[in-house]
């Protein structure tokens, strides 16, 4: 603990507000620090000297105090009385404003024309107005929700139909193309078969001609020999 901390604690100790845990630390410091010990003695003397000031009792004049209270209470009334024309005017204006606010149901400014609507209905309380606005808001929300659901449902149906149509069209196209391909394959096969048959016939004919030619040549050769 340094001297600055100790002196702060000395002030607390003079007024019996020193924390019990700080007391031994302060005492330990004071045992070794002559300056702080002197400071404590001087502070003690100062505090004791302050106690020598004599307190004088100065009673309150209760009558004067009550008069002052009454004066102050009546000051507002006097002010109001003195200024009554102003207050009457202000009150009348305020009353007119209140009446206007009570009976005007709607003020609208549209297309350069100011429209003020009056009705004699009782003005709803704030709570009633709030609940009405909330109910209208909830109804709007529900309507909007229903509208959205309908739109979503119809768009889902339309998409499903389109997909189905597309799929059926695609299946038909595939089936037709497959059929055409099959027909073309059959035709090609028939042509090949015909060619083969022709080729076989031609081969037979040529074989016969060459056989006969060969046989005739061999017969001619035998005859010549």
């Amino acid at each position: 603990m340094d001297c600055k901390q100790a002196r702060a604690l000395i002030i607390e100790s003079l007024y019996d507000e020193l924390a019990s845990e700080s007391a031994p630390q302060l005492q330990e410091h004071l045992d070794h620090c002559g300056d702080c010990l002197k400071y404590k003695a001087e502070m003690q003397a100062t505090v004791e000297y302050l106690d020598r000031a004599v307190d004088k009792d100065v009673p309150v004049d209760l009558a004067a105090l009550h008069e002052a209270i009454d004066r102050r209470r009546h000051r507002l009334l006097k002010f109001l009385r003195r200024r009554w024309p102003v207050w009457v005017t202000v009150g009348a204006c305020a009353l007119m404003l209140c009446m206007f606010a009570l009976f005007v149901s709607e003020i609208q400014y549209k297309d350069g024309a100011l429209t003020i609507s009056f009705n004699g209905q009782k003005t709803d309380s704030l709570e009633e107005r709030t609940s009405r606005i909330l109910a209208a808001y909830r109804e709007d929300q529900l309507q909007f929700q229903a509208q959205l659901t309908d739109e979503l449902r119809s768009s889902v149906t339309a998409i499903s139909q389109a997909i189905n149509e597309y799929e059926s069209q695609r299946d038909e196209q595939i089936a037709a193309a497959f059929q055409q391909m099959q027909v073309r394959q059959y035709q090609m096969l028939a042509a090949i078969r015909e060619d083969l048959e022709n080729l076989a016939l031609q081969t037979d004919d040529r074989f016969k001609v060459s056989y006969l030619t060969t046989m005739a040549a061999m017969a001619d050769l035998a005859n010549s020999q």
């Binding site: 002196r7 702060a8 002030i11 607390e12 007024y15 507000e17 001087e42 502070m43 003397a45 100062t46 505090v47 004791e48 000297y49 302050l50 106690d51 020598r52 000031a53 004599v54 307190d55 004088k56 009792d57 100065v58 009673p59 309150v60 209760l62 004067a64 105090l65 009550h66 002052a68 209270i69 102050r72």
Partner: protein, 198 residues
């Protein structure tokens, strides 16, 4: 058994004038001493005390009973006193000398009261003047803390509640204020004790 301050305030709320008188009698001297030690001016202190009681009466209807009437009352008194000091500083007027109240009153007291002699009364008056002058030279915030702690016996924590400031600030103001008083009253406290015979 005397009713408590809170009970009296409840009665004042209902318009009980007698309860207000009891409260005034209970607090008149303590309040005067606090205000006088802060402002250092007798007449101003009397007026301010009246103003504080007026405010108490007027605020009674809005008073919330939380068991801290004294804190509330001291706060009003301190605020009134500090406002008055600020006004006075703006007007650049010096506080009245103790002679206006102290010496004249002291002589009158001496004539009426036979127990202390006139010399003792004058000596006491001088001492009061020294203490008052030393207190008055302190900054307002330090003086308020010293008055509340030393003369009113409020704990540091209570003063912090009255002034609505941290406890550390109160302790620091007390420390600095006492150090200044120590320096200013040094010659009366111990150096001059032998020569002045105090």
């Amino acid at each position: 058994m005397q009713p408590g301050d809170e009970e009296l305030m409840q009665k004042i709320k209902k318009g009980d004038v007698e309860a207000f008188d009891i409260l005034v009698r209970r607090w008149e001297n303590r309040l005067f001493k606090v205000i006088y030690r802060i402002t250092g001016d007798f007449e101003t202190s009397r007026d301010l005390r009246q103003e504080v009681f007026l405010r108490v009466y007027q605020s009674a209807k809005g008073y919330r009973s939380d068991g801290h009437f004294s804190t509330w009352l001291y706060r009003i008194a301190i605020n009134c006193s500090i406002n008055e000091l600020r006004k006075r500083k703006r007007r650049q007027t010096l506080p009245l000398s103790m002679s206006e109240f102290g010496e004249e009153q002291a002589f009158q007291d001496a004539l009426l009261d036979s127990s202390p002699g006139p010399d003792e009364v004058i000596q006491q008056s001088e001492m009061d003047e020294q203490i008052r002058a030393a207190l008055h030279r302190l900054p307002d915030e330090q003086r308020v803390v010293i008055v509340l702690r030393h003369y009113e016996g409020l704990k540091f924590q209570q003063i912090a509640s009255v002034l609505n400031c941290p406890l550390g600030t109160v302790k620091s103001r007390m420390h600095h204020g006492l150090e200044q008083l120590r320096a200013r009253l040094k010659r009366y406290c111990w150096e001059g004790e032998a020569s002045h015979g105090l």
